[in-house]
């Protein structure tokens, strides 16, 4: 029997048995949809964990105690000065090359949540890479810089207009910095204080160590001097990175478990589709064998039928997941700590799910078929002489 002929017959059979087929398709599609959506969340969580901040090794970070996300931290000049003094007390004058305050906010531009960072441009240039890739440096408080991610995400680049905290600002330059991995509007520190009407009131502080100071020793020197009144923590860059990774580990694990459950349910779904096709069409299978189909032909037809149903289910689940994530991202965009939740599953996620579905379908059919062979059971054959229903 040629493949196309077999497909035509199977599609007629599936259409005739539409209600049971539809239930199978819907149940597996729902599982595939959940799997792909949880994959999208895992992708977002991994991106989040990697993108909060990337500091150079020579910079110690001062955060509010127990704050993980920069937006949750709140410190003042005195806090920064306290730790700078302690380091210099241990290592000598000029051990801290620079104290760099960072204002850190998340704002909504159009449908997108983005980071607004305020820092002294010169200081930033001293501690990390800060390249102007397009336009000019700002010359007054009405002009700002954005990074490439921002321009790509919002479509606003040089010549664009922004409104932040009631101030209208013109984008005059696009920068590339190693510090931020997410969409960013970069203000000069004084400009940020002006716009937000603050006075030395910021989120995190950086202590840029002199080249001759070992950051690890400096950090160790501060271990015994945490000031309860100041309620701050000081991090080495890799400690902070580990902290943020850890903060998202729970999410990643949780969605990873959902993913794994999704795969497990796909396994059961494939087996059930095969087992149901066998159980609910026993009489038809026996008739088919009596009129000349071999066991191998029937196994092939069963595999093809199950594969058709599973493919329909997979396609429907994929479309549903793509539609839900797209609608969710378009109508109700949201972000975590300034990083957009993109809700995007990758081609690799789809391929992995399809490969798994295919494998489970083949195994499901093999396992189901092994359970019996109609022509070896006389009682089943004798059943053709009894009962009307087929």
């Amino acid at each position: 029997m040629k493949l196309l002929t077999a497909l035509r017959y199977l599609l007629v059979h599936i259409r005739h048995d539409w209600l049971r087929s539809l239930l199978t398709v819907l149940s597996v599609a729902a599982i595939v949809c959940v799997y792909l959506m949880s994959s999208a969340m895992v992708n977002d969580m991994q991106r989040l964990g990697q993108s909060l901040l990337r500091f150079p090794e020579s910079l110690l970070l001062v955060f509010s105690r127990n704050a993980v996300f920069p937006t949750d931290s709140h410190i003042e000049r005195a806090d920064l000065a306290f730790y700078a003094d302690k380091i210099e007390a241990s290592f000598g004058a000029d051990a801290v090359a620079e104290e760099v305050p960072f204002l850190y906010r998340v704002v909504k531009i159009g449908e997108h949540s983005v980071i607004v960072a305020g820092a002294n441009y010169t200081s930033l240039g001293n501690i990390t890479r800060l390249d102007l890739v397009e336009g000019d440096w700002p010359s007054n408080f009405e002009q700002v810089l954005v990074n490439r991610d921002f321009a790509a995400l919002t479509g606003i680049g040089v010549g664009g207009q922004l409104s932040i905290y009631g101030s209208d600002l013109a984008v005059v330059g696009v920068i590339d910095s190693g510090l931020w991995q997410n969409a960013l509007i970069l203000l000069d520190y004084e400009q940020a204080m002006h716009i937000y009407q603050l006075v030395d009131d910021f989120q995190i502080g950086g202590l840029q160590l002199a080249a001759w100071v070992d950051p690890i020793e400096a950090h160790q020197a501060l271990q015994g001097v945490y000031n309860d009144e100041l309620c701050c923590h000081v991090y080495l860059h890799d400690h902070y990175y580990a902290l943020t990774q850890n903060a998202f580990k729970g999410f990643i694990s949780l969605y990873g478990v959902v993913q794994a459950i999704g795969l497990l349910l796909i396994t059961f779904g494939a087996y059930n589709a095969a087992a149901l096709a066998l159980a609910e069409h026993q009489r038809e299978i026996i008739i088919s064998r009596v009129i000349g189909f071999s066991g191998r032909q029937m196994a092939g037809l069963l595999l093809l039928r199950t594969y058709l149903v599973m493919s329909m289910a997979f396609l429907l689940g994929w479309l549903a997941a793509a539609l839900i994530t797209h609608v969710s991202y378009t109508l109700n965009p949201f972000s975590m700590s300034g990083v957009m939740i993109m809700l995007k599953f990758t081609a690799a996620d789809v391929l992995a799910a399809f490969a798994w579905t295919s494998l489970c379908t083949v195994l499901g059919v093999i396992v189901s078929s092994l359970r019996y062979d109609p022509l070896k059971k006389g009682s089943q054959l004798r059943s053709l002489s009894k009962g009307r229903a087929v």
Binding site: H16, G378, L384
Partner: protein
């Protein structure tokens, strides 16, 4: 004298299960020539269907020797039995056993497709077979849209289409009214006479004896020529 189509010598078949042991066939011996139309009568549970299953190669005898259309079924391998089923025999059942998803033409096509015949060719042969049973006009109807007699005629066309040496019919009129039953009997006689198709019909409808070239009585697993 035409060559023997069926030669059965001292065949026995016993089923066991759930603590029960049923001797379905006891020392059955008979011969039938090619072109015969044999009718096996007898009460339900007498072993008629079991004998048909043995003759059709869908179950094996326990002891004795059984040759059908030149194939020793008691000695055949599974593969040979498969080939025998495909090439030599076809079944007709009391309850038609058509596949409900497909129309009459597709049902008749299926045995040919199972044998690797291309779809277009299979369609042509199936249409011919349906014409032989006077059902061309109902070719696109599904079983649920056909009467019992029409469904049985589709089942006969499905059996005919592979041009078997032997058609085994198990109570072919058992679910039909008298008029439809007469039509089926006429059809069997016509096919037997005009095309030389051999039939073995198991029934407890005594009227079918009228069409038989050979008549047997089966009771408690024993076969006797009537």
């Amino acid at each position: 004298m035409p060559p023997a189509l069926i030669s059965a010598q001292h065949i026995h078949k016993t089923y066991q299960g759930n603590g029960l042991r049923v001797e379905a066939l006891r020392d059955v011996s008979f011969e039938l020539p090619e072109g015969a139309c044999a009718v096996i009568c007898g009460p339900s549970g007498g072993g008629k269907s079991t004998l048909l299953h043995m003759l059709g190669g869908i179950d094996r005898i326990d002891t004795g020797s059984l040759s059908v259309a030149g194939v020793r079924l008691d000695q055949a391998s599974d593969a040979a039995l498969n080939q025998f089923r495909r090439e030599k025999t076809a079944f007709i059942f009391q309850f038609y056993n058509l596949l409900p998803s497909f129309n009459a033409l597709d049902n008749v096509c299926l045995p040919l497709l199972a044998r690797g015949v291309p779809k277009k060719q299979a369609d042509e042969k199936a249409a011919e077979a349906l014409a032989q049973v006077h059902l061309s006009a109902r070719a696109r109807h599904k079983p649920s849209q056909l009467s019992g007699g029409e469904q049985q005629r589709v089942a006969i066309a499905r059996a005919l289409v592979v041009r078997p040496s032997l058609i085994l019919a198990d109570e072919p009129t058992g679910d039909l009214d008298s008029q439809a039953a007469q039509e089926i009997m006429d059809l069997i006689v016509s096919l037997n006479n005009s095309q030389g198709v051999s039939f073995v019909v198991a029934t407890h409808n005594l009227d079918i004896r009228k069409i038989a070239t050979h008549t047997f009585e089966m009771r408690d697993g024993r076969l006797e020529q009537a």
